[in-house]
Structure formats: C-alpha cells, structure tokens
C-alpha cells in the first residue's frame, strides 16, 4: 500500500502551519479583493497575494470517482470504488479542487453542504479534504 506523504517547502510553509492548526488558508489580492487558490502567488494583474483564512464550509459543485491508481488508501471512497475527487465552492465564493475521502459517492448531490477536514496522509503535512457537513 501507499505510504504517500507531503513535505513542505518554503512557499507552502504558511499554508501547512495553518493546516496543522485546522485552519484553511487561501490567497487574497488586496488590490482586486479577489480570492485565489493556495498555490497561486500573484493575481493576474501582478499584485502580490496575501494569505487569508476561510471558514472551511462549502457546497459541492461536481465530483468524480477516479478508478485510476489511488495515491493513498486514506483517500478511498466508503465503498472502496476509487478516490472521490471534486470541486467545492467555498462559502467565500472560491472554487477548490479537493479529495472527498470516505464518502458514499452514490449519496452525493450537487449543491450539498461540505466542510473541510485535514488528513495527514502517511504522517506528512496535513491536506485539506472535504466531507459532507452535518
């Protein structure tokens, strides 16, 4: 089985520091006030982006069950059919691609409420994943 894990680098250190405390960070442009995914360092206009915390609540936009090779058993669907990968819309409006571990793919509905959890896959840095809320 996989012992996949994520290690931090300098650019991702603030993100993983927050993740270890259970907080999800994204990026915000001071000039445009728009939100961007964690990996983006500058906005299209070239402005530096700042880290900003979000609530970690979202709705489900779309999802797939990827039957390709799983990168970690901790990411598998409840029925073991594959890794469920989705797009969620944060309450703040930004979309994020995210793994949806342990869910029952047949029970998912577009627009349903989701919440962030953090998984330290293989004992590495914690990764934000989303699961049904409530």
């Amino acid at each position: 089985m996989s012992d996949f894990r994520i290690e931090r680098d300098e650019a991702s250190a603030p993100f993983f520091d927050a993740a270890r405390e259970g907080r999800l960070l994204v990026r915000r442009c001071h000039a445009c006030d728009a939100l961007y995914p964690p990996a983006q360092a500058t906005c299209p206009a070239g402005h530096e982006l700042a880290w900003v915390g979000v609530a970690g609540t979202a709705t489900l936009v779309t999802w797939t069950v990827d039957q390709g090779a799983s990168i970690s058993p901790e990411l598998a669907a409840a029925d073991g059919s594959g890794d469920v990968l989705g797009i969620v819309e944060l309450d703040e409006g930004l979309w994020l691609h995210a793994a949806l571990p342990g869910v029952d793919p047949a029970a998912l509905k577009a627009g349903q409420s989701m919440k962030v959890e953090f998984l330290a896959l293989g004992g590495g840095e914690p990764v934000p994943v989303f699961v049904p809320a409530g």
Binding site: S2, D3, F4, R5, I6, E7, R8, D9, A11, S12, F15, A34, L35, P37, P38, A39, V61, T62, W63, T64, V65, D66, Q67, G68, A69, I71, S72, L75, S81, G82, D83, L85, G86, I87, E89, G93, L94, W95, L96, H97, A98, A99, P105, K109, A110, L121, G122, G124, E125, V127, P128, V129
Partner: protein
Amino acid sequence: MQSGSNPLHRAAIVGLGITETGKVYGPSAADFAAEAARLAVADAGLTLADVDGLLVSSGVSGGVDIRLARQLGLRDLGLLSQISQAGSTACAQVQIAALAIAAGLATTVVCVHADAPLKPAQRSGDAYRRGAGPVATGFGGLALVAGPRNPNSGYALAARRHMTTYGTTSEQLGAIAVSQRQWATMNPRARFRDPITIEDHQASRMVADPLHLLDCCMVSNGGVAVVVTSVERARELAQPPVYVWGAAQAHPGDRMQRDSQWGLVSGAAISGPKAMAMAGVTPADIDVREIYDCYTYTTLVTLEDYGFCPKGEGGPLAESGALGPGGSLPTNTGGGQLSSFYLWGMTPLSEAVIQVRGQGGERQVPRHDVAIVSGNGGILDYHSTLILGREPR
C-alpha cells in the same frame, strides 16, 4: 461578409497525408511526422521543393520540432514554427498557415502533427497518467491529492456537472459512442470497427465515474499532415480543394469561482460563432461536423456550444440518433478519436478534408458543401474552430 474580403478566405487545404496509426511501433514521432508530410505533399500533386512553410505540432511523446525541416530537406522556408496548443493545435495551424499565405510570407505550408506515446509493453492509459511517487512537495502535493490527476477525471468533473445541471445521462453519452462506432464500421482506417450498443457502453468498466471506458478516446501512434496553399494555386493541383471559410480560436481562461460556467460551456461558444460569422454561415448551413472527441462529453458540449441544439439538450440530441449514419446532423463520420485514431486535432481535421472532397467512400455523407471542425485542449481550456467549404468563399 463579402466574398474574398477576409484574408483567411484566400487559402485552401490541398493535400492530406495520414500514416498508419495505432499500435505501430518502431518509427519515432519525428519519423511519423516526416512520413505524413511526404504523403500530404504527394497527395496534393506537389513535391517537397514546392513547400516554403512548415508548422509542426508535437504530442505527449515530444520529439516533433522545427528540426523536421532539416529531416525533410526543406530549403528557403518563409515560415517555420512549432505550434503548441494541445488539442486545439491543428485548426490553429491551418488558421496561421492561411494568414501567412494571405500576408505573402509563404505560398505552400505543411501543417503536421505526430505522436508516438505507445510502447509495446505498456497500457495505453499510462501514456497520459501522472505518476505519484511516495513523497510530494508543497502545492504540487496538494494538487496530486485534490486532482484532477489526469484528463479522465478532469473531463469526468465537467460531465458530472452537465448531468446534475441538465439531467444528461450516461446512456446519452453512450449514444455518442454508439453513433461514432457506427461511422467507424465504414472506415477502413478505424481501429475499432465492431458495432457497439448502449448496453456495451454501460457494461464497459468505469474509468472516472461518470465516464466509462467507452466514453474515452484511445491513444495512438502516427502522424497526419495537411498542405495549405493559396486558392489560386489550389485550383491547379491534384485534389479537389477544401477552402478555408472561417477560422477562430477561443481560450476562455475560466475563473474557478461562484457563477463559473466551467464544465458546462467551453471556448466553443465563442470560437464557433466567430468562425461561422467569418464564413457567413449558421449551424443550419453546415453539412458535416467533425468534433474533437477526447471524450463523448467533449462532443456533446461542443455541439451545444456551436448551436446545433440549445444548451443542455445535447443528451436528447445524441439519443435521437441524429449524429450517426443517416441522421440529420452527421457527426464524427470517421469514428473520431473514440473509434478511429487519436492524433489530437488532426483526427477531426483529416476527416473533414475527406468528407468535403467527397472521398469518404461508404461513409461519405450525401451533402458535403460545408464542414465544421473543432479542436479542444486541456480540460476544456483551449478551443479552435475551422469552417471548410467545397467552393471558394
């Protein structure tokens, strides 16, 4: 638009070369490219000495670049470039060739794409799969976990969104695979020629739910080239010219945030109407549709975006049988990338040339005055459109 008023209308496709395609091992991608170029030039009734422009496109295996000019012994080129736009490259190559010809940069341009990702002891799918090592670093690690990890899951996300928004079903996507396979049974070049049913589609293994194996294109080795020249020269050559009526690109750059239409609407919604306006046609005027079909869903969303049915009604359209042989909207008449061969945008482009010329044999559509060709790349990130006609515009 007035006849001849657009510079793009001064060009025509006069040569087509297709190598053996599929699980063909031995030649490199550059070898396939060279062979395709030679075949296309010969098909046009020209020689390599007549070529003064070369636009190359490389697939996932790499290895096709501007050095192809030297491999072919081309001299005194007025145009030489590698065009890199993923699945939307082929239509863009023809568009750029036509502009260069109109501007006097070149008279006779070979546009070629070749790829050799398949190796004898490897599954086809591995050619496009990103390997995951045991340790990933930083944001790259996040992306690997979150996906999409390959085109299959990327297009599955788009297809699912269409299903939950408009009620499109897997069986309706299957109807596209079935129609295209019906065409492929009449294409000697097609790799998969046995008819399939919706039941076969449903029973095929799930690749990335909701996409089954039969929703996905194959992977092929091979090369395709076309020769583009001026309309004046086109008339003197060996084949019936296929005239460029319209050519557009649209790369939407969707922002992934609230109210995004990502997955539901592609660049085709901009590129298609633009190309059709340039050609002076509407969807009702188009006889043949050659649509980039990396997945059944790509065909569906592109047909909607081009206006062959209202948004959200691609599923019922596919289910009606309109896209298959004898249907009202013949689409992907060679079997497409799902059933024939997969050489990116050259798959639909080559079939459009065959159909407009009237050389489709058993699968020739009766009316073939105007064809639309699409190119699509990334996960619906890049789009290009050509409108081709049997008469000059």
